[in-house]
């Protein structure tokens, strides 16, 4: 009799509740989708970034991205533009709807070897349009 009882106990299956697993997983997906920021810089630039001991991780959200590659070609939000004047108009347009200084940051990426004649007009164009420069660099090793 006692043996019979033991056998019955062994056969009893313990159900693991997995009904909520799908909900948890989908919640995680939604979390990742909401929290992730899609990179707007579509230009796959070959840029050697300048070094400094003062660079820090960018904390602000940038309103626009300006880049100059090693060939001196200027990009605005990943799209190639002809001159620094386009940058000024572009930044001005982007910043037209901003209300605070935190929204005026413009990322500036430039090749370290480029001469002043190439990058300075672009920097001035950003400043003239009211942008705060976020110059991208690498930390000194």
């Amino acid at each position: 009799m006692s043996k019979r009882g033991q056998r019955k106990k062994k056969r009893r299956a313990i159900p693991v509740p997995i009904a909520s697993m799908g909900d948890i997983a989908f919640l995680l997906i939604i979390f990742f989708l909401v929290c992730s920021e899609v990179a707007k810089d579509k230009s796959n630039l070959q840029v050697t970034l300048p070094n400094s001991e003062y660079v820090q991780k960018t904390k602000t959200t940038v309103a626009a991205r300006v880049a100059i590659d090693a060939e001196g070609v200027i990009y605005f939000d990943g799209a190639r533009v002809e001159s620094f004047k386009d940058i000024e108009w572009g930044v001005r347009a982007v910043l037209a709807s901003t209300v605070s200084d935190d929204q005026r940051h413009v990322q500036f990426k430039c090749d370290a070897a480029l001469p002043k004649e190439t990058f300075e007009p672009v920097m001035k164009a950003i400043a003239e349009a009211g942008g705060i420069l976020e110059a991208v660099g690498e930390k000194n090793q």
């Binding site: 820090q56 991780k57 004649e117």
Partner: protein, 137 residues
């Protein structure tokens, strides 16, 4: 007879099978995790003042940094990067207000962006406001 009835009842419930939902969801999570590239952008912040170009001569007291190739001049004295940082720190720019925080940054033609960036970073880190000096044409 009873068994048959039970089977029929099971078919009649019309429940949507959700058992594989969690598998699909976890597969999507894994896809996102694998396909995501985390970019850590490091930068310096420089608020360059905009406005009308001024031909007015700057006050002699305004600190000036001149860049030419690899040479850095601070108030007409040759300095290296560490010395420049020390001198800018000594000015205590962050405590000053308005025009007192301005540092003139002048560079010769052909100055590479790498050198320019280091001077810009030093000024910004010490609380200065960069004013770019244009070449006379």
């Amino acid at each position: 007879m009873r068994k048959r009835n039970r089977r029929e009842q099971k078919h009649r419930t019309g429940e949507i099978p959700t058992g594989s939902f969690s598998d699909i969801a976890f597969l999507l999570i894994i896809y996102f995790l694998v396909a995501t590239t985390l970019v850590k952008v490091k930068s310096i912040t420089a608020d360059l003042p905009s406005g009308e170009k001024s031909s007015q001569a700057q006050s002699d007291k305004t600190p000036t940094i001149n860049l030419k190739d690899d040479v850095i001049m601070f108030n007409d004295k040759r300095v290296d990067l560490d010395e420049l940082n020390a001198r800018l720190a000594a000015l205590d720019l962050a405590e000053r207000e308005g025009d007192q925080r301005v540092i003139l940054l002048e560079s010769a033609k052909g100055t590479p962006y790498g050198n320019y960036f280091q001077a810009l970073a030093a000024i910004s880190a010490n609380g200065g406001v960069v004013a770019l000096v244009e070449d006379d044409k």
